[in-house]
Amino acid sequence: MRELSVSVFLFLVVAVNVLAQGPPIFTDTPIMLGLESRGVRTFGNIVSRQKANAYIHPVAFPYNITNKWQVGIVAPFVSISSDGIGDRSGFGDLQVFTKYQIFQKDGKAKTFRGLIKLTEVFPTANNSEAPALGTGANQTNLSLVTGYVTTKYGLYTELGYNATSDNLPDNIVYKLAFGYPLLPQKYPPKQVNIFFELLGNYVLDNVGNNMFFAPGIQYIAGRKLLFESGVQLPLGEASPEGQKTNYVLRIGTRVLLF
């Protein structure tokens, strides 16, 4: 059960959320250009659980091969402090991903798009001592990401299947996000966006459902820079007592390099 808990913990915090590249803060976006074209995204996740705390700091490097096809790599640094077990820091599991846009319907000041995302998580973290810095298992995630985005609001969905090795249970990942800009739209941008997200992970093999409500705020400081923060608050968790999440706080930035 401990292995399972670690798996769910890392999957929710690292594998899925790190790959969210555009607005909103935790859910992925089907709009690949502009926000993601040869940029860097990095942020810190402070994870508070009943008997453990962790700081996870991934850096994501996406690269657009075409305007519809993107590849990328994510390298997370992980620091865990677990009650009664000890403290450890180091690099977590390395991830690679690819995204391909499968449809796009544009209108005046609005767009509806969808993409397929394939993510592979490699068990590269050092798990020789406890607490483990990674899952110790391969994970393959296939997701459908859609978004209906206008200048007045944005609706985003993500639905995926996460297959794991080493007899760990597979997961169904689902996310829903609503974004709303508070300032008038202009360019170069100076904007404040607020987001309300629902993040879920249904673990198969009769393990159960994990669900979080995640409000967040985003400040777009200019053409190439934005800052964002959000918090995940648990609505229900299948994790055993003692390992449930208190909250996950994210503070991050996205920078377009060129």
């Binding site: 709009i31 519809k68 005046k108 000041a109 609005k110 767009t111 360019y187």
Partner: protein, 103 residues
């Protein structure tokens, strides 16, 4: 003789089509862009349009969904070239037309 007439018609028709595809681009050109829904995403569009030879300034109006290009005098850009750049940026170009300065 028949072949010459056909050749002449083809050339004339082709030239007309090409002319229709050219925009007189000395001054300002308004490019209406569909799919432009978030200001941060507009950076990609601005970046691609800057690649166009002869474009000296770009203003993007996200709310009204268009880009206003200032084209250097004497430079000619085809509508097709502009559409291609907009597409590369991940958007869809709608109407492209020269803006007539009033006054």
């Amino acid at each position: 003789m028949k072949n010459i007439i056909i050749l002449f018609l083809c050339l004339a028709f082709g030239t007309t089509l090409q002319a229709q595809n050219q925009v007189e681009l000395t001054g300002k050109v308004k490019v209406e862009v569909d799919g432009l829904s978030c200001p941060f995403c507009a950076y990609g569009l601005e970046k691609k349009l800057k690649d166009l030879n002869g474009v000296t300034d770009i203003k993007i109006d996200v709310k009204n969904a268009f880009a206003l290009l200032t084209v250097k005098e004497g430079k000619i850009l085809s509508e097709e070239t502009i559409r291609k750049k907009v597409k590369e940026a991940g958007f869809t170009a709608r109407t492209i037309k020269k803006v007539i300065d009033e006054g």
